[in-house]
C-alpha cells in the first residue's frame, strides 16, 4: 500500500485505500456471460481538510464511479473508505450513505437531478426534511439564506426547474447540498455544458462558498483549464487507476506520466497560434475498460512504451515531495516543461 | 423536399391497396341438382349422442328408422320395419323388418344391426336414450330371426312406439372398426356416418356446426322412382344471423332457410320475387317457465297474476304478425289429449293486479326483483321477456332480464334452488305423444330435467300421467291426459303462449316440400328441384 499523497501536513478527512469497483457482469440465461468491468482498480487517495482535489481523466476512466463510491451510493468491491479516520465502508448502501452524511454530491446535469414536478422551494426543503433539520420556520429562513448565498433570491422558491437557466440550476443544486451542511462536496463536472461566461460565475461561486463555509472539494472534471484554475492538487486517472497525483502547479508544469503529458498537450489552450509540443504523443483511441491491455493500461498508446511495460501494472511511486506517478519509465522520459 | 411527389407516391400506394378488394358483381349461384339449406346443424353428427331439432334434420336424411313420422299432423309410418305387434300386457314388442334395405356400404340391414343400434343408444346413455332407459334393458333387445327385432319392456310404456323413430339404425360393421375402448365408436361417429338414409355424408367436407354435404344415395330402399328430380347434393350451411340467412335466400345462395323465421323477415321474403314462405302449423309450444318451488311462485295467486300479465294477443299479433296460434295449455292444440274446453288465461292487468294483491296478502314476496332468463341467441325469448317486463312494471312488479345460454340454464335446472325464477323456451316435438309435453313436463318424477324445470308437484296429476303412460290403448289414455291438462292449467304452473306456425323461406325452384313437426320438414328426399 502506498502512503497516499497528502497535501503538506494538513489532516486528512477522507481516505480511500485500495478501492476497487466491479460494475455489471452477469451470467445471462442461455446467453454469453458478460464479465464485470473494473471501473476502479486499486485506487488510494486522501483528501485533506480544506483542499480542492481535482480528479481528471477522459470519459470512461472511472472518475465518476470513484466519486460515487466515496459518497457511499455505489458499493465498493474491495478496499476501505475512512471518514475522519473511521472506517465507513463495507456496509450496505443505505447505511453507507447515512454514515457519510458529511459528504454530499453535486450531479453533472443539475437540471436532470431536480424533480421537474417540484418547486425549487420544495426541492430545497425536502433535503432538510429528510435530515430532520429544523421546524418549518427555521427551514424557511435557512432556505432563504442559502438562496442568497448561491446568488439567487427568495423569489426562486416558487419557480420550477424548467423555468431556470443552466447557471441558475447549478446554483440550486449547490444550495440543496449545502443546506445539508456537508464538509466534503463532490462536484461532478460542475461546469460541463455551461457557456464560458456562466462557467466563470459558477466557478467563482464554488470558490467563494468553499472559503465561506470551510468546505473540502473533490472536483471531477475533464477540463484541464478549470482544474488548473481552481484545484490545489490534481489526480490523473486512466482506465480505473490513478496514474499521477500531485500539487496542481507541479503536475501542470512538469507532468511525469506520459499520459498526463499527452492530456496536457492535447487540451486546447487559449493561446493564439500556439502549437503544443507532443501532439504526436497520442496514438489511437482510448481502449475500453472491458478490454484492458495487460500491464500498464496506457502502454499501447504510449510513445515511450516498451515491451516491459506489458509485464506488470506500475504502482504509484514518489516523484517529488507530494508528487506520485505510476510509470516505470518516468525517470527515463525526458522532462519537457510544458509551457502554457 | 418535394411534398407533392410524396403525396403522389402515397396516393398510388393507397389505390393499389384498395385495388386488392375486387368489387366484382355478385353472381347467382343456384347450381342444378344442388340444394343449399340454411338450417342449423347439431353439435356433432352421431344420432345416438345428440337429440335435438338440428339432429332430427340431419338424421332423417342420413339414417333410417324402424318407423318414421310423416305428414302434418304427423302420422307414424312403417319405414325399415314393415309392421309391428305388441302383446296385450304392452310389454313385448316385435318389429318385422322389410327385406332388401341396404346400408351405404352395400351391406344388408339385419335385425342384428337394429339390435346393435338400440343397445348402442342405451349404452351411450345420452339424450336419445331418455325415452327408453326407464323401461328397457339392453339385453331385452333381441333378434329372434334375421328380420325380427324383439323388445321386452320392464313395465308397460305406452309412448314406446311413438319414441321408436328416435333411434337411427346404424351400421355396426363400420362403427366397431373405429371403437376406442368401450366408447361404442362415439368419437368416430361424431364426425362420420354409418347409415342407410336417402342421403350419404361426405365426411371430408364436414365441419362441425358449419357445413355438411349430403350426396343422394341411389341405393336407398325406398327407391327414387317417386321423385326423379330429387336433389343430387344437399349442402347444409348454417348461418348464425337470421337476416343474413334471409338475405342468402333472397340472393339465391340458399334454397331453404330454417323454419323459425322471425315474422319481421317474412314480409321481406313475401315482397321478393322468386322466393316464398312455406307456412305450417307445428307442435311447438312457446312457454315461460315459473319455478314453482321458489317464492313467490310457490303461491298460486302469484302464478296466476303473471299468467294474466302476459299480453298474448299483442305478442302474437304485433310481434309475430299473427303467425302463431294462441295455445293456452302445455299441450299443442293439434295433438290428441288436448282438452278442447280448456280456456287458459287472458291478458288482463286488472285481474293480474287482483291476484297479485291476493298473493301479497298471503305473504308472497311479490315485491322482490324477479329474474327471467332468456336465451341470448334467441331474440323472441328476449322480446317476450321485455313485453312481460313492461306490463309487470305497470302493476309494480320488478322483472329483471338475465341473458343466458341453453347450456347454463339446463345445468341450473338440475336443482330447484338454482333453477331460474322464470325462463323462456319452446317445447318441440321429439315424439308425437302427450308424454313429450305434459308427461315429461309435469310428472314430478322428472324433476331435475330441464323439461320439468317448473318443479310442479300435484299428486293427482302424477297419478293420471303415470297411469296414462302404462296404458297401451290411445282411446283409454286420451281422457287421462285431458284431465291432467285441465288440472295443470288450473294450477297455472307456467305461462303457455302459443303453438308455433313455422315459417320457412324457400326459393321457387324448390317444390314438393313436405313439412312434419318432427324434424321441422327436414326430410329432403321429397323435394323436387326445378
Amino acid at each position: 500500500m502506498t502512503t497516499g499523497a497528502r497535501a503538506g501536513g494538513t489532516a486528512s478527512i477522507l481516505e480511500a485505500r485500495d478501492l476497487e469497483v466491479l460494475l455489471g457482469g452477469r451470467q445471462r440465461f442461455l446467453g454469453t456471460a458478460v464479465p464485470p468491468v473494473r471501473a476502479v482498480a486499486g485506487v488510494s487517495l486522501t483528501l485533506a481538510a480544506g483542499e480542492t482535489l481535482g480528479l481528471v481523466g477522459e470519459s470512461g476512466c472511472g472518475k465518476t464511479t470513484l466519486g460515487r463510491v466515496l459518497l457511499g451510493i455505489q458499493r465498493e468491491s474491495a478496499g476501505e473508505v475512512l471518514l475522519d479516520g473511521r472506517i465507513v465502508s463495507g456496509m450496505d448502501r443505505a447505511d453507507a450513505r447515512k454514515s457519510r452524511n458529511a459528504i454530499q454530491y453535486v450531479h453533472q446535469d443539475a437540471g436532470a437531478a431536480l424533480d421537474p414536478w417540484w418547486s425549487i422551494g420544495g426541492i430545497l426543503d425536502e433535503g432538510l426534511r429528510v435530515h430532520g433539520l429544523g421546524d418549518a420556520v427555521a427551514r424557511h429562513e435557512r432556505i432563504d439564506r442559502m438562496l442568497g448565498a448561491v446568488g439567487l433570491d427568495a423569489s426562486f422558491r416558487l419557480r420550477y426547474v424548467h423555468e431556470l437557466s443552466g447557471g441558475q440550476l447549478r446554483r440550486v443544486a449547490l444550495a440543496r447540498i449545502l443546506l445539508l451542511e456537508p464538509r466534503i462536496v463532490i462536484l461532478d463536472e460542475p461546469t460541463s455544458g455551461l457557456d464560458l461566461s456562466v462557467q466563470a460565475t459558477v466557478l467563482r461561486l464554488i470558490q467563494d462558498l468553499k472559503a465561506r463555509l470551510g468546505l473540502t472539494y473533490l472536483l471531477i472534471s475533464h477540463d484541464l483549464s478549470v482544474v488548473q484554475r481552481i484545484c490545489d492538487r490534481v489526480a490523473i486517472m486512466y482506465l480505473g487507476r490513478i496514474v499521477e497525483i500531485g500539487p496542481a502547479a507541479q503536475v501542470f508544469a512538469a507532468p511525469r506520466h506520459p499520459y498526463t503529458r499527452t492530456l496536457l498537450a492535447a487540451a486546447p489552450r487559449l493561446v493564439p497560434g500556439h502549437e503544443m509540443p507532443g501532439a504526436n504523443l497520442i496514438i489511437g483511441d482510448p481502449p475500453s475498460a472491458r478490454h484492458l491491455p495487460p500491464g500498464c493500461a496506457f502502454h499501447p498508446r504510449c510513445a515511450f512504451g516498451e515491451s516491459k511495460c506489458t509485464e506488470a501494472v506500475p504502482r504509484l511511486e514518489a516523484a517529488g515531495a507530494v508528487h506520485e506517478v505510476a510509470c516505470r519509465r518516468w525517470r527515463a522520459i525526458d522532462v519537457v516543461p510544458v509551457s502554457i | 423536399m418535394s411534398i407533392h411527389k410524396l403525396v403522389r407516391t402515397a396516393a398510388v400506394a393507397l389505390c393499389t391497396a384498395f385495388a386488392i378488394a375486387p368489387l366484382v358483381s355478385h353472381a347467382q349461384n343456384a347450381k342444378p341438382g344442388v340444394l343449399v339449406s340454411g338450417d342449423n346443424l347439431p353439435t356433432n353428427i352421431d344420432p345416438h349422442q345428440i337429440f335435438d331439432v338440428p339432429m332430427m334434420l340431419y338424421s332423417l336424411n342420413a339414417y333410417d328408422n324402424l318407423y318414421r313420422y310423416e305428414g302434418n299432423p304427423p302420422k307414424l309410418e312403417p319405414w325399415l320395419a314393415e309392421s309391428h305387434t305388441v302383446s296385450t300386457d304392452g310389454l313385448t314388442w316385435e318389429f318385422k323388418l322389410r327385406a332388401g334395405a341396404k346400408f351405404h356400404d352395400g351391406s344388408d340391414i339385419t335385425a342384428e344391426d337394429v339390435v346393435y343400434s338400440f343397445r348402442r343408444v342405451l349404452a351411450v346413455g345420452k339424450a336419445p336414450s331418455g325415452a327408453f332407459k326407464p323401461v328397457l334393458k339392453s339385453e331385452n333387445v333381441t333378434a329372434p330371426d334375421k328380420s325380427t327385432v324383439r323388445f321386452v319392456l320392464d313395465k308397460a310404456y305406452a309412448p314406446f312406439l311413438s319414441a321408436i323413430p328416435i333411434v337411427a339404425v346404424v351400421n355396426p360393421r363400420l362403427i366397431k372398426a373405429q371403437e376406442k375402448g368401450d366408447d361404442w365408436g362415439q368419437s368416430w361417429l361424431a364426425s362420420n356416418a354409418a347409415g342407410s338414409g336417402a342421403y350419404q355424408l361426405d365426411p371430408a367436407t364436414y365441419r362441425p356446426l358449419e357445413r355438411v354435404d349430403l350426396k343422394r344415395f341411389a341405393g336407398h330402399f325406398k327407391g327414387w322412382g317417386d321423385n326423379p328430380k330429387a336433389p343430387e347434393l344437399v349442402q347444409i350451411l348454417p348461418t348464425r344471423e337470421t337476416s343474413t340467412r334471409v338475405l342468402g335466400l333472397l340472393q339465391g345462395s340458399v334454397d331453404l332457410t330454417d323454419s323459425y323465421l322471425p315474422t319481421d323477415q317474412v314480409e321481406r321474403i313475401q315482397k321478393t320475387a322468386g322466393v316464398h314462405i312455406q307456412k305450417d302449423t307445428s307442435m311447438r309450444v312457446f312457454t315461460l317457465r315459473m319455478n314453482n318451488k321458489k317464492a313467490p311462485f310457490d303461491n298460486i295467486n302469484a302464478r296466476k297474476c303473471f299468467a294474466h300479465a302476459f299480453n298474448y294477443d299483442g305478442f302474437i299479433k304485433e310481434i309475430l304478425k299473427g303467425y302463431a296460434e294462441r295455445n293456452p295449455a302445455p299441450m299443442p292444440n293439434n295433438l290428441w289429449g288436448y282438452p278442447a274446453d280448456v280456456k287458459g288465461y287472458d291478458y288482463d292487468l286488472k285481474k293480474a293486479k287482483e291476484f297479485c294483491d291476493k298473493a301479497k296478502a298471503e305473504g308472497a314476496p311479490i315485491g322482490r326483483p324477479i329474474q327471467i332468463h332468456i336465451q341470448s341467441q334467441l331474440e323472441q325469448t328476449n322480446q317476450a321477456a321485455q313485453l312481460l317486463q313492461s306490463d309487470l312494471a305497470q302493476i309494480g312488479i320488478n322483472l329483471k332480464i338475465v341473458s343466458d345460454t341453453w347450456a347454463n340454464i339446463t345445468t341450473n335446472t338440475a336443482k330447484a334452488e338454482t333453477s331460474p325464477d322464470l325462463w323462456v323456451h319452446w317445447v318441440s316435438t321429439y315424439f308425437v305423444d302427450p308424454e313429450n309435453w305434459v308427461g315429461q313436463m309435469y310428472d314430478s318424477q322428472f324433476h331435475g330435467t330441464w323439461k320439468a324445470s317448473s318443479w310442479y308437484q300435484n299428486a293427482k296429476v302424477d297419478e293420471l300421467l303415470r297411469k296414462a303412460r302404462t296404458t297401451v290403448a290411445q282411446a283409454e289414455r286420451q281422457p287421462l291426459y285431458e284431465e291432467a291438462t285441465r288440472l295443470i292449467v288450473a294450477d297455472s304452473p307456467d305461462i303457455w303462449v302459443y303453438n308455433t306456425v313455422e315459417l320457412r323461406g324457400v326459393t321457387n325452384r324448390v317444390k314438393g316440400f313436405r313439412f312434419s313437426p318432427v324434424g321441422s320438414g327436414g326430410e329432403m328426399r321429397w323435394i323436387q328441384l326445378q
Partner: protein, 336 residues
C-alpha cells in the same frame, strides 16, 4: 485553371451579407439571425464562435439551406463561388450544392450516422448522386475506400460492411470527414465537430482537418464555442452574439486584442485568462424580445445611451478586423 476562375481567385469563396432569419414559435416571432455577415477566403479556416443560442449553428444550416420549416430567411445573401444560394430551389440545393459543393461535418458523430444502415449503404449513394464522374460502383467504392484510408481508418473495405455502432467516436468522426470530402467539395462546414470527443481524440481530429484543408484545397467554416480550438485551428474568426456578428478578423489579432466589449468580456471568462472569474452580468436576451439597438448593450460595461437606440454596423478597423460597436464607430470617426 480557367480564366474565369483565375479572375475570381481573389473573391472570397463564401460570403454572407446582411442575413436575417426568424422562426415562428408558439410565443411569437424569434429573430434568430440579425444582419449576420461573414467572409471566408479561399483556402482558409474560419471559426464562427459564440455562446449557445447565439445563432452560429443556425447560420451553418442557413448556408446549407436546411433551416427548420418554421424558419424564414427574411433578407440577405449567401454567395458561394459567386452563386446566391438563397435564390436556389431546394431541389437545386440538393442536386448541386449540398454534399457536392459543400461538405458537412456534424456535431455528434454518435447520432449523425443512421444506425440501421451499413456504412457503405449510407455513404456510397452520396457518390452516386454527387460524383457523377464516377461511372461504376467499383469506382465509387474505390474513391470511398481511398478516402477512408486517408482519414486513417483501418481496413476500409471491411468498414463499408459494418454498422455505425461498431465504431468508436473518433472513428465515426473520421467517417464523417471522409463523407464530407467524398464529392470533392470546395467548402466544408463543420458544426462543433469535436465537442462530443475526448481531448486526445479531439487533438487528432483537429490535426487531420488541418492537413486535409491543405491537401484537398478546401475552405472550412468551423463552428465552435471553444476559443481554445479556434486558437489552435482557425485562420480567421467571427464572433457572434445573440444572432449578430460582433467582431471578425484574423484569429491572432482578435484573440490578443479584442475590440468588441463582448469579445473582451468573454475572453476574460476563460480560465486560462482570467484570475477573477468575473463572468458577464445578466443573461443573453431572448430572441423573442431582442433589445433594440445593440443587443449586448444591457450587459455591456461600456454602454452609452446611443447603444439602445441605434444598431451598430460592422465596420472595418485596421485592415481586415471588423467590429460592430459604437466604440469602433467613434474610433473611426475620431480618426478620419
Amino acid at each position: 485553371m480557367s480564366e474565369v476562375q483565375k479572375a475570381n481567385a481573389d473573391e472570397p469563396l463564401l460570403e454572407v451579407r446582411n442575413l436575417r432569419l426568424s422562426v415562428r414559435t408558439d410565443e411569437g416571432k424569434a429573430q434568430i439571425l440579425d444582419h449576420v455577415a461573414l467572409t471566408l477566403p479561399r483556402g482558409r479556416i474560419l471559426g464562427v464562435v459564440g455562446e449557445s443560442g447565439c445563432g452560429k449553428s443556425t447560420l451553418a444550416r442557413a448556408i446549407l439551406g436546411i433551416v427548420p420549416k418554421a424558419a424564414t430567411v427574411e433578407s440577405g445573401e449567401i454567395r458561394l463561388e459567386g452563386r446566391n444560394l438563397l435564390a436556389l430551389s431546394d431541389r437545386t440545393m440538393t442536386r448541386e450544392i449540398r454534399g457536392r459543393r459543400i461538405g458537412f461535418i456534424p456535431q455528434d458523430p454518435y447520432l449523425a450516422l443512421n444506425p440501421v444502415f451499413k456504412i457503405g449503404a449510407q455513404l456510397l449513394p452520396l457518390l452516386t448522386w454527387h460524383a457523377p464522374e464516377l461511372k461504376t460502383a467499383a469506382d465509387r467504392r474505390a474513391r470511398l475506400t481511398n478516402l477512408l484510408r486517408r482519414v486513417q481508418i483501418p481496413e476500409p473495405e471491411a468498414v463499408l460492411e459494418r454498422y455505425p455502432h461498431q465504431f468508436s467516436g473518433g472513428q465515426r468522426q473520421r467517417l464523417m470527414i471522409a463523407a464530407a470530402l467524398a464529392a470533392n467539395p470546395s467548402l466544408v462546414i463543420a458544426d462543433e465537430p469535436t465537442t462530443a470527443l475526448d481531448v486526445t481524440t479531439q487533438k487528432q481530429i483537429l490535426g487531420l482537418l488541418k492537413e486535409l484543408t491543405v491537401e484537398f484545397n478546401l475552405s472550412m467554416l468551423f463552428v465552435t464555442h471553444d476559443f481554445g480550438v479556434v486558437a489552435e485551428l482557425c485562420d480567421e474568426i467571427t464572433v457572434m452574439y445573440a444572432g449578430q456578428t460582433v467582431e471578425a478578423g484574423q484569429t491572432a489579432k482578435v484573440l490578443t486584442a479584442p475590440q468588441h466589449p463582448y469579445t473582451t468580456a468573454l475572453l476574460a471568462c476563460h480560465p486560462d485568462r482570467s484570475d477573477a472569474l468575473t463572468g458577464i452580468p445578466g443573461l443573453v436576451p431572448s430572441p423573442l424580445q431582442a433589445p433594440p439597438g445593440c443587443r449586448f448593450a444591457p450587459r455591456c460595461g461600456a454602454v452609452a445611451d446611443v447603444c439602445s437606440r441605434r444598431s451598430p454596423k460592422l465596420v472595418g478597423i485596421a485592415g481586415d478586423h471588423f467590429v460592430s460597436c459604437r466604440l469602433a464607430d467613434e474610433t473611426r470617426s475620431a480618426t478620419p
